[in-house]
């Protein structure tokens, strides 16, 4: 690992995005528009908006970063630039950390916008600190980046990469407790949801929603999400091969 190479990679990824303002606008604005929509869908029951809104603040960065990273790294693989980079003195960790930094930076902006909008404009009622919401959102974004990076190794085209979203993200979305509390699910589904990282992302958000202080459960949830992100990033690094057939 080399800090300068990691930072150069992160700067390069951001520079690429800067030439694509439409993507940036979509990444930053779509979550805000969805929250706005949700607020008025649940116009009659603000409590539902509180619960779902807080969960979504954790889910949006995960989904966005998953999509962006899986496509971006797939392009890196198919354009030959990955082969070129790995034939150069660039560590796999430098590349992955560079991507994680660049997309993490975007995720921070996205989360600040979405959280700010939800708390101050849409009246999302959160008992805990907004900073904790932001922390969970950032970890979720990191998890999304990690999953996207990992999945891109198994996609041969952009078509396949996009299809991995319903395959990897939707089951987690259904089981994470967004639609119904996890302990009310069929026991088999509940135990599956216990091993899916998004469940802990949503649990973490709900802890902040309900408790004024940092709870033990909150710490456990964030550690699990962060641990999963690091684990999947390491798996992603293992899929980068200097020698290919």
């Amino acid at each position: 690992m080399n800090t300068h190479r990691t930072l150069a990679t992160a700067a390069r990824v951001l520079r690429q995005l800067r030439h694509d303002p439409r993507s940036i606008a979509l990444m930053l604005l779509v979550p805000c528009v969805m929250l706005l929509l949700l607020r008025y869908v649940f116009d009659g029951s603000p409590q539902t908006f509180d619960s779902i809104g807080a969960s979504l603040l954790g889910i949006f960065p995960l989904i966005t970063m998953f999509l962006v990273t899986s496509i971006a790294t797939l392009r890196e693989r198919t354009s030959g630039t990955l082969e070129r980079l790995l034939a150069m003195p660039l560590g796999k960790g430098d590349l992955i950390a560079g991507y994680a930094l660049a997309f993490g930076f975007l995720a921070v902006i996205q989360s600040v916008l979405a959280t700010g909008l939800a708390l101050w404009a849409l009246g999302l009622d959160v008992t805990g600190s907004a900073w904790l919401l932001l922390l969970v959102a950032l970890l979720d974004a990191l998890l999304g980046t990690a999953l996207g990076l990992f999945v891109s190794a198994f996609a041969a085209s952009e078509f396949q990469a996009v299809q991995f979203m319903p395959a990897v993200i939707f089951p987690q979305l259904l089981l994470c407790g967004l639609f119904t509390p996890r302990d009310q699910m069929q026991p088999v589904l509940e135990s599956i949801s216990n091993v899916l990282p998004m469940s802990y992302a949503v649990d973490g958000m709900n802890e902040v929603l309900r408790h004024p202080d940092i709870t033990g459960d909150f710490v456990r949830d964030t550690v699990i999400v962060a641990g999963c992100a690091v684990l999947v990033l390491a798996l992603g690094a293992a899929t980068l091969r200097r020698r290919t057939a």
Binding site: R15, G80, A87, M88, P89, R242, R243, T244
Partner: protein, 266 residues
């Protein structure tokens, strides 16, 4: 002529590469001398790219011996000493020419201060080398095919590598550009002492190389100078010499008893 005492830039013994069910390279034995331009020629699909990927260390399932600049191919210490141009331009389409080079330069020579100044000089030099100064701030994706392949070449020239591995760098270029690039290759080899391994399936480019490796179906037909090849086969051009050798090899396959298969007759 080549110096006997100096070790070769590339040394291959019984080099074999398998891709899936197919043996792409079969027991290749050859050397590439330092400071010269060695052309790797043969029809499409004969294994040129695979041999180049093995040399730069990105090819899997390589058996036999392959030493590059006195290290086994793919050794980490080689990564900053070899410049490699893939067949398709491998640059970022959504970055400008200069931004592309800035990034790859930062990978090769990271750091701030003097390193940043050095990088800036290198980037400016290679942009001039490939004659893209007027397009330095254009997005790579907006350039023509030939211009993009020159950006890709410029990346390989960064950091003054000791060995340049160029996979069909002149494909799709007009005659003027091709001549300019070959002049550039010659000046790089002569002035900087760089070893160049360049592949092509255009036989007239063979005449511009110091040495030639002629390949067909994963095997070496010849390893010689263009002059010696023409003389030995009594041919006017390298193309005619190549066809002569192909006919010879086909005949050897059909009548193995009459004519023993010679791989590298010298």
């Amino acid at each position: 002529m080549m110096n006997i005492a100096e070790p070769p830039a590339i040394e291959a013994r019984d080099l074999t590469v398998v891709r899936g069910p197919r043996t792409v390279l079969r027991d290749l034995t050859f050397t590439v001398p330092k400071g010269q331009i060695t052309g790797l020629l043969g029809p499409s699909g004969c294994g040129k790219s695979t041999l180049m990927r093995a040399t730069v260390g990105t090819q899997a399932k390589v058996t036999g011996t392959l030493n590059v600049l006195d290290h086994p191919a793919g050794a980490p210490s080689l990564r900053s000493r070899i410049g490699y141009v893939t067949q398709h331009p491998s640059v970022y389409d959504d970055l400008t020419v200069r931004q592309n080079l800035d990034y790859f330069a930062a990978v090769l020579d990271p750091g701030r201060g003097t390193a940043a100044q050095r990088r800036h000089d290198h980037v400016t030099r290679v942009i001039d080398d490939v004659d893209l100064a007027t397009h330095a701030d254009a997005l790579a994706g907006n350039l023509s095919g030939g211009q993009r392949s020159r950006v890709s070449l410029a990346v390989a020239l960064l950091g003054a590598p000791e060995l340049l591995v160029l996979d069909e760098p002149t494909v799709g270029l007009d005659p003027v550009l091709r001549r300019d690039l070959w002049n550039l290759f010659h000046s790089i080899a002569a002035d900087r002492g760089t070893t160049i391994l360049v592949s092509s399936h255009v036989m007239d480019e063979a005449e511009r190389c110091h040495r030639l490796l002629l390949m067909r179906e994963g095997e070496l037909l010849a390893d010689d100078t263009p002059q010696a090849l023409r003389t030995r086969t009594a041919s006017e051009t390298v193309e005619a010499a190549f066809l002569h050798l192909v006919d010879e090899a086909v005949a050897a396959q059909k009548f193995p008893v009459i004519s023993a298969p010679t791989r590298s007759p010298r």
